[in-house]
């Protein structure tokens, strides 16, 4: 049962704010108010004026903080001047470590605003002889005080609304008390702690940051939850209801600006000391996400061998609603993968996810970046003298096709192409990543939530973070590559049914006039059926590419991770890739994420699991996406146990991630024909969920084509 306030809130989100979304107008105000201050300080004031824009409290709010403050009536003239003025003060985007970050809420909740302020002041004193650092710390202080002012403004707004039509006076009073207390001391109660976290998170959104994670909520909020429950102040139902009130507001962004936010929340897993971390709050978070049934809170469940069975069962119940949340993460594999990059073990164990599935050392490194690396392109280079069939990019000329006389020679040339591709990718990213000068783009507010920016007096992107920035390269098309290589080995070098020149000609002609060869290629063994003949290429794929990326460093000396994920880019990448030796025709999607090509894993769910657990995912530090689709009946009492057993085996054998759609093919098909009947149908897309009817048709078709198990 959803709390009536949350139901009310859901309705209120249907009426968008009036005026235009104009954060730059507010930023400009702060910039203008300190014309002679240094750039970094003016940046802080530009944030401060965003935070102190007029508060907005929903009738259904129990926890406050809204982006509606940033809508205003503005003249065209002011709109333009403010835009120009604010541009150099804007935040950096995804390519420049600007968003996709999991804040260190633990420290902030412990210290509260006053404690954090004291830490800043102490650090200013310690760095008295380093004016740059003192100035940076001053900008942090301004940003922090702006957060405090924001809370004060909300308290005042709540008080002013008491007695207003449609508002509950008691709730407003609680809001006021919570906000005022947080200005004066660290949070004590669960509602206070949750209020502080939400106000901070919403402030990031006001700054324009996207995919900011809420991280391990069941860990950093637990002390407050446990104390309140123990003293009888709070029930689990009440905690769940407050969480719903928060999670539903993540949807503000889509409601008003379009485009889902992807706010990752990690529950379960192990604690930094290695003991199991699952607690009663983990269950409340699961239920709250399930109850609100909206895309936005991108829930990830960390599953360790010690994770209680009833928790995994609860995860499956929520997945079974069709929502696709939570994604299930293998804690052991993720921690082992992160450990390869030299993090202290307790920091690796305290990882959380940002964005879709990206593993992140919580609150200790600059915000995340990643990119896509579509691999079948390189096979094209091998078969087409270093050129693509359609796309303009080029690889190396590794020699005439006629000289490929064995699988060994083919693999050697492919590896040469890939090596060059990896180098090109890394150089390209490092160049782009360093282009805007970090000094011009300090992030004083973000830095408050990253160890050890305050202590060092340095910005998060200028050496303040404990660990350097990392980058994830998402390797796309493992299924396509694996099936292609297996088909070549089978048809060309084993059965000798065609020559390699014939194959090259067939690929170039998109199989037109070469249908028998295409048929033979399609009949070769495919990834996902527990046949080593094909599966060995997936093992090679992960080993070779991860080892290759691991050789490189980011601008500040951090690691290059790989990801086995594609985030629906496999569909678009496929548009520019010609026919592939697995029988796929030009323009068709590449295989999705780490999954076998849809519809080709035909030996049942167990064989799929046995195949996809063959690669060594402890080399895939960013994370993996395996999309699976199960019929809704698999989530019924009795059958759910079997699914749970399957997942335990999958993780036991080294699988890294699994996300499950539980919506039947019939429903998906019907929703494409009659979208009006399915306004609330949420499905798992890739590393996130979304309303099905809002997805592009080719994405809908891709989801539809997923192999339905049982």
């Amino acid at each position: 049962m959803i709390h009536p306030n949350t139901e009310l809130l859901k309705n209120e989100l249907c009426s968008p704010p009036v005026g235009s979304y104009a954060p730059h107008v507010f930023r400009a105000e702060g910039i203008r108010s300190h014309p002679n201050a240094p750039h970094g300080i003016r940046r802080a004031y530009s944030i401060a004026s965003l935070f102190t824009a007029k508060p907005y409290i929903y009738k259904g709010d129990r926890i406050v903080g809204s982006i509606r403050s940033l809508w205003t009536e503005v003249t065209e003239e002011e709109n333009r001047t403010a835009s120009e003025l604010a541009a150099p003060f804007s935040i950096r985007g995804f390519l420049h470590n600007g968003d996709h970050f999991a804040p260190d809420y633990t420290t902030f909740l412990t210290d509260g605003i006053p404690g954090t302020l004291s830490r800043i002041e102490a650090s200013m004193e310690a760095h008295g002889d380093q004016p740059d650092r003192v100035e940076f710390l001053e900008s942090c202080r301004i940003a922090l005080l702006a957060l405090r002012d924001r809370l004060t403004a909300y308290a005042e707004a709540a008080e002013a609304l008491i007695g207003a039509e449609g508002y509950h006076s008691e709730t407003l009073y609680e809001i006021k008390e919570n906000c005022l207390s947080l200005c004066k001391r660290p949070p004590v109660t669960f509602p206070e702690a949750l209020q502080l976290v939400w106000m901070i998170h919403n402030s990031f959104v006001c700054e324009g940051r996207y995919a900011m994670a809420l991280g391990r909520m069941d860990q950093y909020l637990y002390p407050y939850f446990a104390r309140d429950v123990e003293t009888g102040k709070l029930t689990e139902e009440e905690a769940t209801s407050l969480l719903e009130n928060v999670f539903i507001k993540i949807y503000e962004r889509r409601a008003y600006l379009g485009g889902d936010d992807v706010v990752n929340i990690a529950v379960g897993g192990v604690k930094p000391d290695g003991s199991d971390a699952t607690n009663r709050l983990s269950f409340c978070i699961l239920r709250a996400v399930g109850n609100i049934n909206l895309p936005g809170p991108n829930l990830s469940a960390r599953i360790a061998p010690t994770t209680p069975e009833d928790f995994l069962d609860e995860c499956l119940k929520v997945i079974g609603t069709g929502l696709g949340y939570p994604a299930l993460m293998n804690d052991e594999v993720n921690i082992a993968a992160l450990s390869r990059y030299g993090y202290a073990i307790e920091d690796a164990r305290n990882y959380s996810m940002v964005g879709c599935i990206e593993n992140f050392i919580t609150g200790m490194q600059p915000a995340w970046t990643d990119g896509r690396f579509d691999t079948p392109r390189f096979l094209e280079y091998v078969f087409n003298d270093g050129k693509g069939y359609f796309h303009p990019s080029a690889g190396l000329d590794t020699g005439s096709v006629s000289t490929i006389t064995s699988m060994g020679i083919l693999m050697e040339r492919l590896e040469t192409q890939l090596k060059a591709g990896v180098k090109e990718y890394v150089e390209g990213f490092n160049r782009a990543n360093t282009l805007p000068c970090p000094e011009q783009y300090t992030s004083p507010f973000l830095s408050l939530f990253c160890k050890d920016c305050i202590g060092r007096g340095l910005d998060i992107n200028m050496g303040g973070a404990v660990y350097p920035s990392v980058h994830g390269a998402a390797l796309m098309g493992v299924g396509t590559m694996c099936d292609s290589l297996a088909a070549i080995e089978q048809v060309i070098f084993t059965d000798m049914a065609a020559t390699v020149e014939e194959l090259a000609a067939a690929l170039k002609a998109n199989f037109e006039g070469h249908e028998p060869l295409q048929k033979a290629l399609l009949a070769a063994p495919k990834y996902g059926n527990n046949h080593d003949f094909a599966d060995k290429y997936a093992v090679w794929f992960v080993d070779f590419l991860s080892d290759e990326f691991m050789k490189y460093k980011t601008r500040d000396g951090g690691g290059y991770y790989t990801a086995m994920a594609a985030n629906v880019s496999n569909i678009y990448a496929g548009h520019t890739i010609g026919a592939t030796p697995d029988g796929r025709k030009a323009g068709e999607p590449l295989s999705d994420a780490a999954s076998p090509t849809y519809g080709r894993d035909t030996r049942g769910a167990t064989a799929t699991v046995l195949s996809v657990t063959k690669p060594d995912y402890t080399k895939v530090a960013c994370g993996t996406v395996i999309n699976q689709k199960y019929s809704p009946s698999m989530f019924s009492d009795g059958k759910r146990d079997k699914l749970r057993a399957l997942i335990r085996v999958y993780f036991g054998r080294g699988g890294q991630e699994m996300q499950i759609n539980a919506t039947s093919t019939e429903v998906l098909r019907d929703a494409m024909d009659h979208p009006e009947k399915y306004p609330d149908l949420v499905v798992r897309v890739s590393g996130f969920s979304a309303h099905y009817i809002t997805l592009a048709r080719d994405v809908q078709l891709d989801i539809l084509s997923r192999t339905q198990q049982e």
Binding site: A605, T606, L610, V649, E710
Partner: protein
């Protein structure tokens, strides 16, 4: 050792007994249940099904050695162990190949894998005797207690089936009686009462009801046949619960879906 005539091996079977199982469907059946869910298993000869929607052809029926079957089902050992599952031998009527079933059961037993035999029981007792040492549980279908219906519509021998069930229960075999609840065959109250009487006499303690569904339509289409039950609506929930209630006074009843 002669080869087994197998229709299909289905991994991740979740409706054929406890846990995650692999079901080995044997080819050939001596009954002709008009509602049959696995029509491709009836004939001993290979049958090609072309599914209309995907235009994909799959041939059911191949000769395989016991070793080949064992190797294939052992791929999923981890899943059996984790879930308390195993192998289900079904069909068709697997006991038409009793020696093959016995050899397969023996090999799986030696590897510590649980074996369920799914039979309609219309077979000489000697066939049961050959396999019982190697199976843990018998799923025994009870289709009707009307000898005329059994003879004329299904083509079976009710006294023989009843005698086999009685013997199994007497010797203490773990038997799960499963009643496919079929409209127009056995779902009316008189039929249920008659089945209850027979099962009581045989000494049964538990029964499971499997309400009729039309999922087999696609297979009949793919075989170019008309499913006699194609227009039969699913059983209303109250008909299922009525049957369950009637049986509940004598047996522990479960409903499988």
């Amino acid at each position: 050792m002669s080869a087994l005539n197998v229709s299909d091996i289905q991994h991740f079977s979740v409706g054929d007994g406890p846990g995650i199982r692999t079901t080995v469907f044997f080819k050939g059946c001596n009954l002709r249940c008009p509602w049959c869910h696995n029509p491709e298993t009836i004939s001993r000869e290979p049958v090609a099904l072309t599914y209309l929607r995907t235009n994909k052809t799959i041939t059911y029926g191949r000769a395989v050695t016991v070793n080949e079957v064992v190797n294939e089902v052992m791929e999923d050992l981890d899943f059996y162990r984790q879930s308390g599952g195993g192998v289900t031998i079904s069909g068709g009527e697997p006991l038409l190949q009793a020696n093959g079933v016995a050899a397969l059961g023996k090999a799986l037993r030696e590897k510590g894998v649980s074996v369920i035999l799914d039979t309609a029981g219309c077979i000489p007792w000697s066939h049961f005797e050959a396999v019982l040492p190697f199976v843990d549980t018998v799923f025994f279908d009870w289709k009707t207690s009307d000898p005329v219906c059994m003879k004329e519509r299904i083509g079976g021998d009710l006294p023989l089936i009843k005698d086999n069930l009685t013997r199994l229960l007497r010797r203490g075999t773990d038997v799960h009686i499963r009643i496919p609840l079929i409209p127009g065959i056995n779902a009316d109250t008189a039929s249920v009462a008659a089945m209850a009487a027979d099962l009581r006499e045989a000494g049964a303690k538990t029964v499971a009801l499997l309400p009729f569904h039309r999922l087999a339509v696609g297979k009949y289409d793919a075989m170019g046949l008309v499913y006699p039950f194609r227009d039969t609506p699913p059983l209303p929930a109250d008909a299922v619960s009525r049957a369950a209630k009637m049986l509940a006074s004598d047996f522990t009843v479960s409903i499988e879906k």
